[in-house]
């Protein structure tokens, strides 16, 4: 399987198709992370401040509803979710096939995950510091924006890095519904046309990409943390 001819063929595909695929993977991942954070961050904040002993308690039924909603979305396998959200995708993008269309299921699949990550980051903020903020007359919104989010910043950055790499993994799966990127190459050549070598190259690039995202994210998180220096 690894004869010269096959390697040459594989390399040719790497050179001609990989640059575009790499770019598609990166932009789909980053855009999906961005939109998922846009929904997941406020939801995560609500999960923490809305608790009974939180700074802005919400009615019990609403807390339970948000909790259930997130758990339900998180328990649907991504492969099935992609197909389930077709109507929504068509509504937003106009089509259910293609690279841009794959962003919709990615966002739907990952914002509940991000909400949970944000929840765990915000829970780490020292309750004494929140009490201090209340004692100086800060409103709930001010406590969130001026105390909780800044204090949780390094942890949020670390968790968003995890989310980004997870979304990168999901984005490779979206090759099945015609989403572009490295996942599509891996599936089209490796699964449908038995060209394992090309699939192997695509996987190597994906692994490297995860490494880069993770290292950059961890580095930024560590650099931004002002504790224990």
């Amino acid at each position: 399987m690894f004869n010269i001819e096959k390697i040459q063929e594989a390399l040719e595909i790497v050179v001609t198709q990989f640059p575009l695929a790499l770019w598609e993977t990166i932009y789909v991942t980053l855009l999906a992370t961005f939109f998922a954070t846009l929904i997941g961050l406020p939801l995560g904040v609500l999960l923490v401040i809305g608790k009974k002993d939180g700074i802005k308690p919400l009615p019990n039924w609403l807390n339970n509803f948000i909790d259930l909603f997130i758990n339900v979305l998180r328990s649907i396998p991504f492969l099935i979710l992609m197909i389930l959200v077709f109507p929504l995708t068509r509504l937003i993008v106009g089509t259910t096939v293609g690279t841009v269309a794959s962003i919709v299921p990615l966002v739907i699949a990952s914002f509940p995950f991000i909400a949970r990550l944000v929840e765990s980051s915000l829970k780490e903020v020292d309750p004494n510091v929140i009490e201090m903020a209340q004692s100086i007359g800060a409103s709930p919104l001010q406590i969130v924006t001026k105390v909780m989010l800044p204090e949780a910043y390094p942890s949020l950055l670390q968790n968003l890095t995890i989310a980004t790499t997870t979304i990168l993994g999901y984005s490779a799966m979206s090759g099945i519904i015609g989403g572009g990127g490295l996942g599509k190459i891996a599936i089209n050549y490796g699964y449908y046309r038995y060209k394992y070598l090309i699939m192997l190259f695509a996987v190597i690039v994906l692994v490297l990409l995860v490494q880069v995202f993770q290292s950059v994210g961890s580095l930024l998180a560590a650099k931004s943390d002002k504790r224990l220096k």
Binding site: D126, N128, V129, E131, M132, A133, Q134, S135, I136, G137, A138, S139, Q142, K146, V147, P150, E151, Y153, P154, S224, D225, K226, R227, L228, K229
Partner: protein, 344 residues
């Protein structure tokens, strides 16, 4: 005329019949009434579980009392809505045992926090914050992060932050409990200076008698959710009436047997507050120099860097002249000593 009299009668803080019951069963504080005058330094002391933390959190309504009222400068806090309460809290600052600084912000930004919350622009806020950091003596640490500071320095930042909104009242919740004795006395000195400079009414919550003795004018002793005793510090500690007060004078635990076994003697309490450096064995030399023999009933002192902190409880013969000689002896040696009446 009537209006004048009302102004004259107004305390800075009026706590009336305050109670707090958790979950309809645990009574943390019961029917507490206290009046605290403007410019006072008022100590609230008690063992852990006495309800001190609940009481102090009721004063700025971080805990909503289940009964009674709190008036600060004439305004009943329990009648305010959320927004009015937030505004009022800007007049009631608080410092904490764990300092509660934002770890991700430098000292300057920490001090600016109450000002940005009050929507004061950044430039004015920073100017004011620098002035305050100067007052608490750590202007040079303005751009350092809390993790780079010692506990005492962090508490100074917290004090600067507490002063940012020009409060009328400063609540100190075990503010020195996590500090060593030397740092404790410097922070207490700072609180005293601030009290005089800005005429801020200070409430000090503590379990340490030395804290109350060194800066408070008045004290209330809290025991199991009620005020067991209150009054001027010197009279409460030299003539404790309640069991709770006696327990505090004997930090290791008050015991009736101790008193009966000491019948026919009188007690003198000697306090070392770190003001003087003494290596002199005072009790022994008192016997040699003025011929007063004292036995040590209770002692809790430590020497740190040649300075002694703590207290001694001595018993001497029941004789006015001997007690006077002993008190004079300690006064001459610049150690504060008072007779304590413990006999039931």
């Amino acid at each position: 005329m009537v209006a004048n009299r009302q102004v004259w009668m107004l305390s800075m803080i009026q706590i009336s019949n305050l109670s707090k019951i958790y979950n309809n069963e645990v009574e943390a504080i019961k029917d507490i009434s206290l009046n605290i005058d403007e410019g006072d330094i008022y100590g609230i002391i008690g063992l852990s579980g006495a309800g001190k933390s609940t009481l102090v959190r009721c004063i700025n309504l971080l805990e909503r009392p289940t009964g009674g009222t709190i008036k600060i400068d004439g305004v009943d806090l329990t009648m305010l809505n959320e927004k009015q309460l937030r505004e009022k809290r800007k007049e009631i600052s608080m410092i904490f045992q764990s300092f509660n600084l934002l770890n991700q912000k430098n000292c300057l930004d920490n001090v600016c926090l109450p000002l940005t919350i009050s929507k004061i622009n950044k430039k004015d806020a920073e100017k004011k914050a620098l002035e305050l950091l100067d007052i608490v003596g750590i202007k040079d640490k303005a751009y350092a992060y809390p993790s780079q500071l010692s506990g005492g320095q962090q508490q100074r930042v917290a004090i600067a932050r507490a002063l940012a909104t020009n409060p009328k009242v400063l609540l100190c919740d075990e503010a020195t409990s996590s500090l060593d004795p030397t740092t404790t006395s410097s922070i207490l000195q700072l609180l005293k200076d601030i009290n005089q400079k800005f005429n801020i009414t200070i409430i000090i919550i503590t379990h340490q008698m030395s804290v109350v003795e060194s800066i408070c004018k008045h004290v209330a002793i809290l025991d199991d959710g009620i005020v067991a005793e209150k009054g001027e510090v010197s009279s409460v500690f030299s003539n404790p009436q309640s069991l709770a007060a006696k327990r505090l004078v004997f930090p290791e635990g008050y015991d009736d047997k101790l008193i009966t076994s000491n019948e026919g003697v009188r007690f003198i309490r000697v306090v070392f507050d770190g003001d003087i450096a003494t290596n002199k064995p005072l009790v022994a030399s008192m016997a040699v120099e003025v011929n007063v023999v004292a036995s040590i009933v209770y002692a809790s002192t430590k020497s740190i860097g040649g300075v002694t902190y703590g207290s001694l409880l001595l018993s001497v013969e029941n004789d006015d002249q001997i007690v006077k000689t002993a008190l004079d002896y300690f006064t001459r040696n610049e150690v504060s000593a008072k007779e304590v009446f413990l006999n039931v």
